[in-house]
Symmetry: C2
Subunit: 456 residues, 2 copies
């Protein structure tokens, strides 16, 4: 059996900590046994490791998240979506990858999981039991249902009955009910319906036959090539709800969607993270990622979050509307974690003549390097703050020490590698500071060095 | 008659906008007719100008505020305290300055005013009437009293009766009552007592005789020299309350102490200043000086202020306690207005080895210059963002254009003057970034140029 975590879109529901480069599952706001905060994805992966499931698990995500996954989880197997579409194309890609690249057989069972549920280990044990449920029934699909603790309109429901096959704990899914009115939700609770938590399990050959039957590409390379033209629809809609027979297993433990500041703050260990203080505040959570203090006084049931991207101050009940509220303010990300380190933007401005100026702090992890690259329309000025490294500028290598200044003019090829943890302040100035002004020659440091050795 | 505005200490009661370099009276948060926000001191000075009083008015302040006064009011006469002590030494200095430097006669009347009352023009007309009240009575001191609108324990009171002299509107001050319990305040209101608003008026010769009588220095140079040893006590305590006869005039218009966010926010024209938005907020004021958005949702009766120095989020009733709350967070000012321009600190950090790193944006107004100076222990890296100017580095002058980079190593003499508005990003790095690491040679640009011409 294979497990695949679907690591979804960026999302602004936890703004200003989540941004286009930092999705909510990567925010380090949950407590861990070691006393250091960890992210949702780190928590889930650690749970899977402790149950011995990590060896058979994969993460499916977009290219934009590959860096931060490596940074947070290390070297884990990642299936990369060529572009961000919906879950149907993603699951098609996953299935073909497991069949064609991993070499899994047609009757291999795969479970697709959201990357960010806040659950107990029993959740994963129930997922493992889905393989048996699929084997013991003639179902095409096996789902995990969460035993509801209360009636709510926030989730979808699975109407279930005893499975005909009679296998222990296996339920028949009779119908799907999308987020119901509260009266219906109460009725569903009485009937023993389950919350649909977005976990589905099927045999690889089943999905291949669906793709073939619909005339869609079904090999890994075929899907990769045609990815942009696959239906941008959810897997639920396109496959799950069309299946002839579906079974489910019920999970009765903790299951939370930490998708809003209101729900996430309930799991935070400390009411105040960062520099500053809270005076006479009740049920109030503060996260301050800035280097200046945040002072809160006399607040009740509020959440205050300050990051390089912005400052949020909200009564907790209002945070579910956040996504739409911050839409007008989605500028460039001011903080990004990458596989090579991270950067924080101190300031970004656009002058009257169109010139853009960006001031940022760049941290490069030991042994990591930036690619050998060139800009057509920007000048970069680096001041090394701490650490040491190798600089390559127009094919010539020199050593970098604290206090050194590097001037990278438009057209100059440049790369840098950290010996120690290397930190520099960079002032970018030019007519275009976007990604399109970067021409990359090599990512790999050895290739960069070999290339320069030939030329010099 | 002379009027002197006492521009007092820095204060943290309006943190994070007020800091050691920016006292509350200089915050541009009040509406003006021109639609641009103005500061308390600008509002008061404009009122005095429109009444024709500015020509006979002075501002007494510490050296730290001279720059910002020039920046906000232009070329106004300033009496500079050698150091910050209390109001008794300050008023002694003012009196001696008017006698010895300005050449005012002994019987010249001076009125001392706080710099930051929020008042109507009638306030200043009542102050002008104090001269007549002093002349028509045999009083040593004439005070302005504010006709109270309600009973409060927040202010001191003047107990008054009809003046024996019988001059119209002139009252006899019978006693001072410091911030009374509310029951006593109500009783005082019934008796016709007035709020003491800190305006006092006397003849210069009267104060000189007090100084002489107490064996204190009484010439301007004498007071300057002995300033640090003068009693650090309030003028109220040392002089006003000891006077044999005191009269008062009542002022009946608006008089507000905008000393807390709660009172100040009432006078703000717009509930939201800066980048961001407020959703479903009531009686809530937001000031955002940062370049990132502030989003507020569902707040009631709150004040949110974000500045380079920090972020405050408070229920308005709590803001009077702010001063003590922020005491532990008083680091270096992150924003300063100076006569030559201003700077904003993007980031300040101290590395493990003690090295300090400061990244800031510096704006130099057209025609202004920084002094010719040298640092022993710091390196500065400038990247010119916009504008143009002259750079002098080790006695040699060159022109600065956008995109230019200047490396100022320890020991190098340097100065810069703006042609246009000159903006540069500066990265300071060194073992000591404080004022003591600066040796200044000349402030005046012509002197700098002449000095360098001789050497080159």
């Amino acid at each position: 059996m294979k497990l695949v975590l679907l690591s979804g879109g960026s999302g602004k529901r936890l703004w200003p900590l989540s941004n286009d480069a930092r999705s909510k599952q990567f925010l380090k706001v949950l407590p861990s046994e070691q006393g250091r905060a960890m992210s949702m994805v780190q928590r889930v992966w650690r749970q899977m490791e402790s149950l011995g499931l990590a060896d058979q698990s994969f993460i499916c995500t977009s290219r934009a998240q590959v860096d931060i996954i490596e940074s947070q989880l290390g070297d884990v197997p990642v299936i990369v979506e060529p572009e961000r579409r919906d879950t149907f194309p993603a699951v098609a890609l996953i299935s073909a990858y497991l069949l064609d690249v991993v070499g899994a057989p047609d009757d291999e069972v795969v479970a697709i999981l959201p990357v960010d549920p806040y659950v107990e280990e029993a959740y994963f044990q129930a997922i493992v039991a889905l393989e048996r449920a699929l084997a013991d029934s003639d179902a095409e699909m096996a789902l995990l249902g969460v035993r509801p603790e209360f009636a709510t309109s926030k989730f979808g429901y699975l109407r279930v009955g005893r499975d005909d096959g009679g296998a222990s704990g296996v339920l028949n899914v009779a119908a799907f009910v999308e987020k119901p009115p509260i009266e219906l939700a109460e009725q569903l609770l009485g009937e023993g319906a389950l919350w649909n938590c977005g976990v589905f399990c099927f045999r690889l050959g089943y999905l291949r036959s669906i793709l073939q039957g619909r005339g869609l590409p079904w090999t890994y390379s075929g899907i990769l090539d045609a990815y942009g033209s696959l239906p941008a629809r959810s897997f639920d809609y396109e496959v799950v709800e069309q299946a002839a027979k579906i079974v489910a297993i019920a999970y009765s433990g903790t299951w939370k969607d930490l998708g809003t500041w209101e729900t996430l703050s309930e799991e935070m260990e400390h009411p105040f993270a960062g520099i500053g203080t809270a005076v006479d505040c009740e049920d109030t959570h503060v996260i301050n990622e800035l280097s200046i203090p945040v002072v809160t006084m006399g607040l009740k049931n509020a959440v205050v979050v300050a990051s390089p991207d912005g400052v949020l101050v909200a009564e907790k009940g209002y945070t579910s509307a956040l996504k739409d509220v911050v839409k007008p303010f989605s500028g460039r990300p001011m903080y990004e974690e990458r596989y090579w380190g991270n950067y924080r933007v101190f300031d970004y401005s656009r002058l009257a003549d169109g010139t853009e100026v960006l001031v940022r702090n760049v941290e490069l992890f030991s042994g990591k390097n930036l690619s050998y690259q060139q800009h057509a329309r920007r000048t970069e000025m680096w001041t090394v703050v701490e650490g040491s490294g190798d600089l390559i500028l127009n094919n010539r290598m020199t050593e970098l020490q604290p206090g050194d200044v590097v001037q990278v003019f438009a057209g100059m090829w440049h790369a840098v590698r950290a010996h120690d943890h290397l930190v520099f302040v960079e002032v970018q100035r030019g007519l275009s500071l976007d990604e399109e002004d970067i021409v990359r020659r090599f990512e790999n440091w050895d290739e960069i060095v070999a290339h320069c050795a030939v030329l010099s």
